[in-house]
Amino acid sequence: MPKVSPDFKDSLSKVEDAGALAYCYQCSACVGECPASHHCEGFNPREIVLASLLGVADYLTDADSVIWQCTTCYKCYERCPQGTHPIEVVTALKNLAFARGNAPADVTAVRDTVKENGVIIVASDALAKRRQELGLAAAPAAPASEIKKILE
């Protein structure tokens, strides 16, 4: 028997639009064109919303959760007749998973790269040479210290 947390859905409402999940009537309009549902084992936005509504979604914030399979294509957002926005529920669950230390290593690594450098790609000599070949000025320095202050 999973642990039931009746207030779980309230913890999602801080993410924009995720709080509208109570309007879901489980019609599956979000599933029909969901690419992750078609291609990834175990991903189903209708089930993700239902588990969140019932307060049994803790497992979705565990390590290796299916939530990271979402492609963020926003087709569920467009197709939902109830304005539920399953993708925002997924984002809210991702935020909870990260806070629990359960985000995939590469997601954390991208965030760390932005925190240290202000950008997701670190400049290199090879890149500088390519920019020069194309007649482009050197890439400007990113405001790394300011971004670090935001992410600390």
């Binding site: 492609t71 963020t72 467009e78 935020n95 202050k149």
Partner: protein, 295 residues
């Protein structure tokens, strides 16, 4: 404000274009002035930040960094021009959230105050596809000196240009056509294919599924007779260009459909030489597509 023949924007390049695909930046700087779009560089921008990992880790932090970029853009007194769907999605959604005065905005405001910055909601991000579309296909066509006649192009819009339509405001989320009109303005022929608004698959964490999604799309483009595909996003570009190398290695399919950013096709049609555009850096050889263009 009087409508001037030259529109000025602050250029927001993000990360992938200047730091991994500078050939797209080079194409933009050559092509845009010829259609009356002047770009101005300003200092101080960071990653937009990218809307999968950074947003997945924490919406508050993602919003604060995005609002910081919007604040820097706002100081320049111009709207920001972006060449990437990811930057467009982040900056547009962040401006939308900021205008709603939500809890998330209040948290982001506090972080910005520590940097002595604030975002008043005056500047916004404009996608280059929207700016060109609003300028008009006729204006784009007027800049063409070497039409891409004979070239059949499959258009991949990319999800974050289209959806959510009520926030992105570019085109119909399931039956878009404005980007296709911009391709036709270059003298090329657009081919519609099955699933043309589907996702490239870049952002899923399931690497096999990601390649299958891209592979399905490229196969549908091939089946419709496309000689190449065009995107307006460096992440989608990478998923198809580098992705087709991975598709061959892991799925055993040798698809080789040349991949372009729209600005590269625009620069080519304006008479820029392929060698000055860095096209040889693409993983999938573009020569078969260029050979289709009738001299």
């Amino acid at each position: 404000m009087a409508k001037s023949a030259v529109a000025e924007y602050t250029l927001f390049l993000g990360c992938m274009i200047p730091l991994r695909y500078p050939q797209i930046e080079a194409a933009a700087r050559k092509a845009l002035p010829k259609v009356g779009v002047k770009v101005v560089d300003v200092e101080g921008f960071s990653c937009c930040p990218e809307p999968w990992s950074v947003k997945g880790a924490g919406l508050d932090d993602w919003l604060a960094i995005a609002m910081r970029n919007l604040a820097v853009g706002e100081k320049s007194g111009r709207d920001m021009l972006v060449l990437c769907n990811g930057c467009y999605a982040t900056l547009t959604e962040a401006a939308h959230i900021a205008s709603n005065g939500s809890d998330a905005r209040a948290a982001a405001d506090k972080k910005l105050a520590r940097l002595k910055l604030s975002y008043a909601g005056k500047s916004r991000a404009r996608h280059v596809a929207a700016v060109l579309s609003e300028a008009g296909a006729g204006k784009v066509a007027a800049s063409v000196s070497r039409p891409l006649a004979g070239l059949k192009v499959a258009v991949h819009h990319g999800c974050h240009l289209l959806r959510p339509a009520e926030i992105m405001g570019f085109d119909d989320p399931f039956e878009p056509s404005r980007l296709e009109e911009l391709v036709e303005a270059l003298g090329a022929e657009v081919v519609r294919y099955q699933g043309y608004t589907d996702c490239c698959g870049k952002a899923t964490h399931d690497s096999t599924a990601a390649l299958t999604m891209a592979s399905d799309k490229v196969e549908a483009m091939r089946a419709a007779g496309a000689d190449c595909l065009v995107t307006v996003c460096p992440a989608c570009f990478e998923q198809f260009d580098l992705g087709q190398v991975e598709i061959k290695r892991k799925l055993g399919k040798d698809l080789r459909l040349p991949t372009f950013h729209y600005l590269q096709l625009l620069a080519l049609a304006q008479g820029e030489d392929a060698s000055s555009l860095g096209l040889k850096r693409h993983h999938i050889d573009v020569a078969p597509a260029l050979a289709k263009i009738k001299a």
